[in-house]
């Protein structure tokens, strides 16, 4: 079930990247996609009744600790890349005055010419 949902959210994010023309929506969609991957990673190998990987549990009962460690990394990555994207977004908005990808592209092409 969780795997299904993570696939759905991933494609939902991708869909938003394709159809939504606002930059901020693209960033939101990117966050959604990242979260979907994290959800998948955690739920992928999970079996019912497994305990957190802390030494109170027996080794056989523990859930796989590796995805969790990796996904903490992924969350930190997510926040820093989101912050950078947002910082760029505010620069972009200040310089171009719009956050529509199509208008941005047009202005940029005129700059080139």
């Amino acid at each position: 079930m969780a795997e299904l949902v993570s696939f759905i959210i991933f494609f939902l994010g991708l869909y938003a990247l394709v159809v939504k023309r606002s930059v901020i929506k693209s960033i939101i969609a990117l966050v959604l996609m990242e979260t979907a991957v994290i959800l998948y990673f955690v739920s992928g190998g999970f079996e019912e009744g497994k305990l957190p990987p802390i030494s109170d549990a027996l080794p056989e009962q523990m859930v796989d600790p590796l995805p969790q460690a990796l996904m903490i990394t992924a969350i930190v990555i997510g926040i820093s890349s989101t912050a950078v994207a947002l910082a760029m977004y505010s620069q972009l908005h200040r310089k171009y005055g719009t956050d529509d990808w199509k208008k941005l592209m047009k202005i940029r092409l005129e700059e080139d010419a």
């Binding site: 969780a2 949902v5 696939f7 901020i24 966050v31 979260t35 947002l86």
Partner: protein
């Protein structure tokens, strides 16, 4: 578990909402709730470390950053309405519908293919980790054992990524390098109640943050989560007093020094004769503390960069309106 199903459905609904809502602020709020639901969901899947990280970083901090970053730039309601009625918009709606159908088809094929083919061939890594992490690393929390010992090489880059991300943010938002902004950020005095009560909150938050950091090798949590909690002290301080009595330059220097410290400390792992069982635990605690301080400095810088940028935007707007 029926509870998890409810959570998952709510997550899908919130994701759709955050994409489809037109006003960016509301979309961001939905995204924050989505992250919070994720965080709670991870608890059901026996991932407390991750849950803490997602709650602190993904749900709280990311939402705050989003809100501060888009504050000056979002559309007014009338603008949205007028755009909504234009013929161009109708064409765009048609495009959305078309892509929706395409995504549904391909998504359905991919998902059914996945459930038809997925298989397991055992978990060698899991087997190794859960059997030997206590004796190998001295940690009681396997997640900490992995990210501070087995795979510390990754963690170094994670710390570097945070450093670089903050560098980039500060650079793009044009923080005056090496200086404090001269004028005071806010002019209005803020609510007395907020200021007083948040003063009462500091010790709680600090205590909690340090607890999470220092006990990272025993209980869920660790440097990253605890550091984020500590950083929230700075954020609260801003809301309470609205005055930047903070020298960003020193924070940046501190962050870089902590990063160098983390690299140097992780190099000790390469000297096996040095790492006896007592020192191993000490090493874990020390690493967690350094990471916690580094993350705290970093996230505080991140937040202040956005706040500073925001006031600058408002400044220029006000000036152009007056002039």
């Amino acid at each position: 578990m029926p509870v998890t199903i409810v959570f998952l459905l709510a997550m899908v609904v919130l994701a759709v909402a955050s994409i489809q809502v037109r006003k960016a602020e509301i979309a961001v709020i939905y995204l924050g709730i989505f992250s919070l639901f994720n965080a709670i969901f991870y608890l059901f899947y026996s991932a407390p470390d991750l849950s803490l990280a997602e709650a602190v970083i993904g749900s709280a901090l990311a939402t705050a950053l989003f809100l501060v970053a888009i504050k000056g730039y979002t559309l007014r309601r009338t603008q949205i309405k007028s755009e909504y009625r234009s013929p161009k918009m109708r064409l765009a709606l048609f495009g959305e519908l078309f892509w929706g159908v395409v995504f549904l088809t391909i998504g359905f094929i991919v998902i059914s293919f996945y459930f038809g083919t997925v298989q397991d061939v055992g978990k060698p890594a899991w087997y190794h980790y859960v059997r030997s992490f206590i004796s190998d690393t001295g940690a009681r929390n396997a997640v900490t054992a992995i990210y501070l010992n087995y795979r510390v090489f990754d963690t170094l880059f994670e710390a570097l990524l945070l450093l670089v991300g903050i560098l980039a943010t500060a650079y793009f938002l044009e923080w005056p390098e090496g200086k404090e902004p001269e004028e005071e950020i806010a002019t209005k005095p803020d609510s007395e109640i907020v200021a007083r009560i948040s003063g009462l909150l500091y010790p709680f938050i600090l205590l909690y943050g340090f607890y999470i950091i220092v006990n990272g090798h025993l209980t869920p949590g660790g440097g990253f989560q605890g550091g984020a909690i500590l950083a929230s002290v700075f954020i609260i301080r801003y809301f309470a007093q609205r005055r930047l009595g903070i020298n960003i330059f020193i924070l940046q220097r501190l962050e870089k020094s902590f990063f160098l410290g983390i690299i140097a400390l992780s190099m000790l792992l390469l000297l096996p004769e040095f790492m006896n069982s007592d020192f191993k635990v000490f090493h874990l605690v020390l690493m967690n503390i350094l990471i916690g301080f580094k993350v705290c400095c970093g996230l505080a810088i991140l937040f202040f960069c956005f706040i500073f940028q925001q006031t600058k935007v408002e400044d220029t707007k006000g000036r152009s309106e007056r002039g």
